[in-house]
Amino acid sequence: MLARWINPVFLGIVAAASIAANLAMPELRLYIHSAAYLLTGLLCVEIARDYDHKLMRLSWVLFSGEPFSLAASFPLGISAVVSWLGGVTQRDHIALEMVQLGLTCLLAGMILTWWQLRQFGLGFHARGMDWVAVGAILTGMAIFFGLSWQGGWMFPMMAGARVLLFLAAAVSILLNRFCQQMGGGEIARVIRFIIAYVATRCVMNLVFAVNKTWAPVALELEDLLNVVFPWIFLFGVTLRARVAVRAEAELARVNGIASSI
């Protein structure tokens, strides 16, 4: 079990160190992020294996699609092969496709998680205000795209990824409500980390779209968010994976006590 070897505190230290290193030596960024994404993807698969419930298992398999696709889009991944075969333009195109594929998987995983939590019959339900917020996000998305196209900020090839991020942000509203209704707990914390990951990427994309000549600080903010966001997902996933590790340790303790009686 991979999660047995990962301590969130240790992970925090590594993340902080790598963020600092990333900011100091940007050339290291891609390699460190690749490693973080790979680890995230593997942990997602491990979490999926902990579920017997088919749809919950599928949702975590879908979640793993996001970090795996990001890892694949990096120089060490598939895009490196494509670059060698077809050149830089092909590589950039494939990298973008991988990003979109990852976001599609993330969105699908979030929708499936939301749907299943509703179906469990444990009283999770969205309120009217949540749907208003979802509506506001979708309206905001339409306005953003409208302004982008008009202002010429939007690269058409990035439009797909941005749509997916906005949709993921909308689903986040509903999932956040469920987290509140859970009344705490690791599962709620994990979902909130995923929401934070989506929110960070959304902000990053919005900042990316801002004209840097108007707001130079946006460049620094974008850089900071870029080095931080991979660790958010990894943190959340580690917390969830550790639930299984702790449960097994407790189980061993309970069985040990039972057998000694």
């Binding site: 902990d50 579920y51 444990l122 859970m182 009344g183 690791e186």
Partner: protein
């Protein structure tokens, strides 16, 4: 004399449940056998007496409309608490004691959340049949384990099962 009537025939004949052939056989034998005729008369008298005595007893212990109404109000109050239970006490019954439920709630709450843990227990209790000794606890644990597995994963479900089985 051979008596071709067994207890099943006697009861069937008394209740009028026998088919034509068996009825005819019993009637014919009674007509020709004084011993069985005597048995038949005794059984008939006993059955009639029992029916009458049961009716008399039932009449004395009848409940009036007021008693029915107040009983109904009390049960409806319990049902309404059940539909929106706020405490484990309103869910506990039979083998599902408050202590046991609370212990399991404390196991699930750190992972699923306090409110989720309560709702899981309520949902599992709702799927447990009428308490019949230790079977009800086992069935409750199975339901709770299924729900926990779907929400929190197999490891947590196994933990809930083991702890549930180890509770006094």
């Amino acid at each position: 004399m051979k008596h071709p009537i067994d207890y099943d025939d006697w009861l069937g004949y008394l209740d009028g449940d026998l088919d034509q052939i068996r009825t005819a056989r019993v009637r014919e034998h009674i007509d020709h056998c004084s011993e069985c005729r005597s048995t038949w008369n005794e059984l008939l008298e006993a059955t009639a007496a029992l029916r009458s005595a049961a009716r008399e007893y039932a009449a004395v212990h009848a409940v009036c409309d007021d008693e029915v109404r107040s009983g109904r109000e009390r049960v409806l109050a319990r049902i309404r608490t059940l539909e929106s239970p706020s405490t484990l006490e309103s869910v506990a019954a039979g083998e599902l004691t408050v202590g046991r439920l609370r212990k399991l709630q404390h196991v699930v709450a750190p992972v699923g959340g306090a409110r989720t843990a309560f709702r899981l227990i309520v949902a599992a209790a709702g799927r447990t049949p009428v308490p019949q000794g230790t079977a009800a606890w086992r069935i409750f644990l199975e339901q709770l384990t299924d729900l926990t597995s779907a929400l929190c994963g197999r490891s947590m479900a196994r933990l809930v099962w083991e702890i549930g089985n180890s509770l006094p």
